[in-house]
């Protein structure tokens, strides 16, 4: 048994195992430094030593061996964080069962995905590689750092980031239920599926606790309970070891999950998309639940028809920690622009608007002590812009992760692929369809494929 326990510990701590992460030394000179949490400082330098911000101030001399970047007339802000994306993944939906908490997108990481580079070219240094929303309880997800250029899946993982998991409510899981003739096919069914899973996990936990206790008695000779990675993971949610990120749109379903989580003692809860979050903003705030929203996506399906682009502003004004996410390899390239929309739709201040893509998503991922603002001791994840990042004319120029320049608009070649296809020279281009009838959370599920290819 001891062996097994060690095995579990090894698994849990595997995430923490230090991969060969590259840390850099860089000095950014004379920029307008938007710290997010501590105001905006003109003509200021930022020193990054061994991957961490070691000093913010004026006239810092460059130690030898440091990369020096002149940021005169430029804007320096913390690397942007996307709390909801599906880039850098080879698959996102294990949709075959209503409950699949045992799967983990960390197993599907793809450091070669060009989308990582494109995200860097939008100043994004951290993203949450989420499982899809085909099932009520989806898979565990991985918080990644955009260390593009590495070939190593492990280097992409953000070391020590808390575990997260994806849940999904509403049309996606119920449509999938209808297609396969199984539960859930309604929002009632979704609630039941989640309650049932939590209840079974509670039982599982109790059974194992009892067994482990009995086992300590000398001469105990009993059968261990059946092991289940699925229930084990659910139990970890109940124990508070995993942050729950839930795909949701409508106010009623958001309210439902708030109640279920309260009942089962699940405290760390972030709603994703949450288009009708504005309708239950007081309830969200009271529960300490957070919201990660689109800037303005709506009307692609019924449950987002009654949306408003003022969502982020209403949530913020009601005291809900809110972020703006991409859910898209396209949108992730200009989250700074998406954040700016809250200035039009609700009049958020510059710091409020930029918090939506920096410190707030960091809080939602449980990494706010590492990233999300420019402060001494935090990671050297920095985006440098020409023009203010909330201006439509803003252009990300340089993006730095752990003190290493990972994007440089002026120096990078056009072709930034790491591996190339040995079979073909000139790609057949991909021309995206512009039918806005989906979020990207269903990628890989049958109903999605069927729809896009007209098989249904």
């Amino acid at each position: 048994m001891k062996k097994l326990i060690i095995l579990f510990i090894v698994f849990i701590s595997f995430n923490q195992a230090q991969a060969q992460v590259q840390h850099g030394n860089v000095l950014i000179k004379n920029g307008t430094v938007i710290t997010i949490t501590k105001g905006t400082l003109e003509n200021t330098d930022v020193l990054v030593k061994d991957g961490k911000i070691s000093q913010i101030g004026k006239n810092i001399a460059a130690p030898t061996g440091y990369t020096v970047i002149d940021a005169t007339n430029k804007f320096v802000m913390p690397g942007i964080i996307d709390a909801h994306s599906h880039i850098a993944l080879t698959a996102i939906n294990e949709y075959s069962n209503a409950i699949t908490p045992e799967v983990w997108t960390g197993d599907e990481l793809n450091p070669f995905d060009i989308s990582i580079y494109r995200a860097l070219a939008g100043g994004v240094t951290v993203s949450h590689a989420l499982h899809g929303s085909g099932n009520a309880i989806g898979g565990q997800s991985e918080t990644i750092k955009h260390r593009y250029g590495t070939l190593d899946m492990d280097v992409l993982r953000m070391e020590n980031a808390p575990r997260t998991i994806k849940f999904a409510l509403g049309e996606n899981p119920t449509t999938h239920g209808r297609n396969s003739g199984l539960q859930p096919q309604t929002r009632m069914g979704v609630e039941f599926v989640i309650r049932e899973a939590f209840s079974e996990a509670r039982q599982y936990m109790e059974t194992w606790d009892k067994y482990n206790k009995e086992k300590l008695v000398k001469g105990f000779r009993g059968a261990p309970p059946t092991y289940s990675l699925r229930l084990e993971t659910l139990a970890d949610i109940l124990k508070g070891n995993i942050i729950l990120h839930c795909h949701s749109y409508r106010a009623d379903e958001i309210n439902m999950l708030l109640k279920v989580c309260k009942e089962f003692g699940v405290k760390r809860l972030v709603f994703q998309h949450v288009n009708e979050g504005f309708k239950v903003a007081p309830e969200l705030a009271a529960a300490g639940a957070m919201a990660s929203v689109f800037s303005d996506w709506w009307a692609y399906k019924l449950e987002v028809y009654y949306s408003t682009a003022y969502n982020a502003a209403i949530l913020t004004r009601n005291g809900v920690v809110t972020s703006i996410n991409s859910d898209s390899g396209e949108l992730i390239r200009h989250l700074f622009h998406e954040a700016a929309k809250t200035q039009k739709y609700g009049g958020l201040s510059d710091d409020e608007a930029l918090s939506l893509i920096t410190i707030n998503p960091a809080k939602q991922l449980g990494i706010e002590n590492r990233v999300g603002s420019l402060e001494v001791g935090k990671d050297g994840d920095i985006a440098i812009f020409q023009k203010h990042p909330l201006s439509i004319y803003a252009i990300p120029m340089i993006t730095i992760v752990d003190g290493v320049v990972r994007f440089d608009r002026e120096k990078d070649p056009d072709d930034m692929r790491i591996y190339v296809d040995p079979k073909q020279v000139v790609d057949i281009p991909t021309i995206q369809s512009h039918d806005h009838d989906h979020d990207n959370c269903l990628r890989g599920t049958e109903m999605f494929t069927n729809k896009m290819l007209g098989l249904n």
Binding site: M1, K3, S96, N97, E108, Y227, L229, D415, V420
Partner: protein, 570 residues
């Protein structure tokens, strides 16, 4: 005349001409050789990488290498094969493939199961209890193809999904499945292959299921041992053939062979190994050049794939284009052309990494074998040459085909080198094996001789110089069967003469050839035969390639393929 060529007579004549002896010949093939003792004499023998003896002899007896070396006396019962100027190697060992394995006829239904989240283990691809021995087929076609390029041993696994079953080491020859087995349950074969339309549908699903099963098995195994130690008073553990299949893996009595073609698969497999701690052999690795430190750190054994991406095909065309572009040298290249050039260069450079993978592993001091799961047998010799050209030493290539896999499989006492007492698995080529022009002439598997038909199609070449004098065994393939004949050609001064004799035919043969014309490597001969006092003309046009030829023979307006081989001078 018209009546003469009427169908019934025509058929009869053909039958008389070629097919009379057919039934006899067919039986002849199935006959056991007159002796199981062979002596290959006067050959260059590469006993192991870096261990070469020249003008040496091997004696094979009872399926084993009885003796090898210089000045060995050949036993009187030995069939002697003069292997002058031939090269003899230990038979090659394929690290993993499905040669000789029956593909399930009804591939598990891809229909969506009623509850896709809870499919049967078979539907999910979870059949680790399957044993490749139950699906071996000694007449399977790929056995012959692989033998033809020098492989005599293979580690084979069943078809399936994420956990297809146990693999065995087989000989690429034998009369029954059991006779082919060298050693069984050698491997616990695994892939990151999802099930279709049923759980697990993704790689992450497969990995989660793998962890789940492995840990379940660890628990049930412990409990079974507890139960076995004292059964009284505790619940009887239920039997579970899936979980039980993991037990030898957990005990490290069996190695997990994990397919890992792509760089990401490789990393994922190493992740699983790191977490679960099983003994690992990576197979069919194609994109592993950047992962050498990781592979080293994992202590995993590794088999590199013998499949390589194709080189640029249209080189001739580019030559023509070059000629064109010389003509139009003044026309500047369009942006699209320039872009394509740059991209083509990146691709070429990248293909070089696949080709150079083996060399990179050699330089890093990692021993590796080769596997052929996704390789086509016809490409393998050329792919080996490409790897050698990219820096892999010939010795290392040979080691990867022989000694290293023998070591990995723990079969060095039986396989991998040409040494006394080892299983008589040999490959004999007419030039050093890695030479482009080398052809495998004989293969011994378990002491059984397989002559190789040299069957490369040669093009007509007016400038080629060939020697046609001598005695040729000619095989004609007709719908009724295969006929054998002997063609003898002599040369006096500059004039050729010859005769042909059909083996076992009742017809009045040999017939003198009525014409012999040699132009370059194209030989045209004609003769006539007389049946019932009537004469029929026969023509044969063939292209000579060294000591073989291929072509057609035409008689009574019917054409049949024909092949010939010069009889060795013994």
């Amino acid at each position: 005349m018209k009546k003469f060529y009427s169908y019934p007579f025509n058929r009869w004549a053909l039958l008389m001409l070629f097919c009379w002896p057919f039934s006899l010949l067919a039986q002849d093939d199935a006959l056991a050789p007159v002796s199981r003792t062979y002596a290959l004499t006067n050959a260059t023998i590469i006993q192991a990488p870096g261990r070469k003896i020249e003008a040496a002899t091997i004696v094979i007896k009872n399926g084993l290498i009885q003796s090898v070396g210089k000045g060995i006396t050949t036993p009187p019962e030995a069939i002697i094969i003069r292997a002058d100027s031939f090269f003899i190697y230990a038979g090659f060992i394929d690290g993993l493939s499905r040669i000789g394995v029956n593909k399930p006829k009804d591939d598990v239904s891809k229909e969506r199961p009623k509850d896709p989240g809870n499919p049967t283990p078979e539907r999910a691809g979870i059949t680790p209890h399957n044993d490749v021995r139950t699906v071996l087929n000694p007449t399977e076609k790929s056995l012959e193809e692989m033998r033809g390029i020098g492989f005599t041993t293979a580690h084979v696994v069943p078809y399936g999904g994420m956990l297809p079953g146990n693999g065995s080491i087989i000989l690429l020859g034998g009369t029954s499945a059991d006779a082919m087995i060298v050693s069984h349950k050698n491997s616990f074969y695994s892939e990151l292959t999802p099930a279709e339309r049923a759980y697990p549908t993704t790689v992450m699903g497969v990995m989660a299921k793998y962890r789940d099963l492995y840990r379940q098995a660890t628990l049930t195994k412990n409990y079974q041992s507890l139960y076995a130690s004292n059964r009284a008073g505790i619940e009887r553990p239920s039997s579970d053939r899936i979980l039980e299949s993991f037990y030898p893996v957990i005990d490290k009595r069996q190695t997990v062979f994990f397919k890992a073609e792509k760089v990401l698969e490789l990393q994922r497999v190493l992740t699983l190994q790191k977490e679960l701690g099983f003994t690992l052999t990576l197979i069919e690795v194609k994109e592993g050049w950047d992962m050498i430190p990781k592979v080293k750190a994992s202590n995993a054994q590794i088999f590199l794939s013998l499949d390589l991406p194709e080189e640029k095909k249209d080189e001739k065309k580019t030559d023509e284009k070059k000629a064109d572009s010389v003509k139009q040298a003044e026309k500047p290249k369009s942006a699209a052309e320039l872009e394509k050039e740059v991209l083509e260069k990146r691709r070429t450079d990248f293909i070089a990494k696949y080709v150079g993978q083996a060399s990179a592993y050699q330089k890093a001091g990692v021993k590796f074998g080769f596997s052929t799961l996704t390789a086509k047998s016809k490409d393998i010799p050329a792919n080996l040459r490409r790897m050698i050209k990219a820096g892999l030493t010939e010795d290392a290539a040979l080691a990867s085909l022989t000694t290293t896999p023998a070591e990995i499989f723990g079969l060095s006492d039986r396989l991998g080198t040409v040494d006394n007492g080892k299983i008589a698995n040999l490959v004999i080529s007419d030039k050093p094996y890695f030479n482009e022009k080398a052809k495998v002439r004989y293969v011994f598997v378990d002491g059984v001789l397989y002559k190789q038909e040299v069957s490369e199609v040669k093009k007509a070449d007016a400038n080629a110089k060939v020697e046609i004098e001598g005695s040729w065994s000619v095989t004609t393939v007709t719908p009724q069967g295969t006929a054998q004949s002997t063609l003898t050609i002599k040369k006096e001064g500059t004039v050729y003469s010859g005769e042909i004799k059909i083996t076992g035919s009742p017809l009045p043969l040999p017939e003198k050839l009525t014409s012999i014309a040699l132009e370059g490597n194209v030989l045209k001969i004609a003769y006539s035969i007389s049946i019932d006092g009537k004469s029929m003309d026969v023509k044969m046009d063939v292209i000579i390639d060294g000591i073989t030829f291929k072509g057609n023979t035409t008689v009574a307006s019917e054409t049949f393929p024909v092949e010939g081989k010069k009889d060795p001078k013994f």
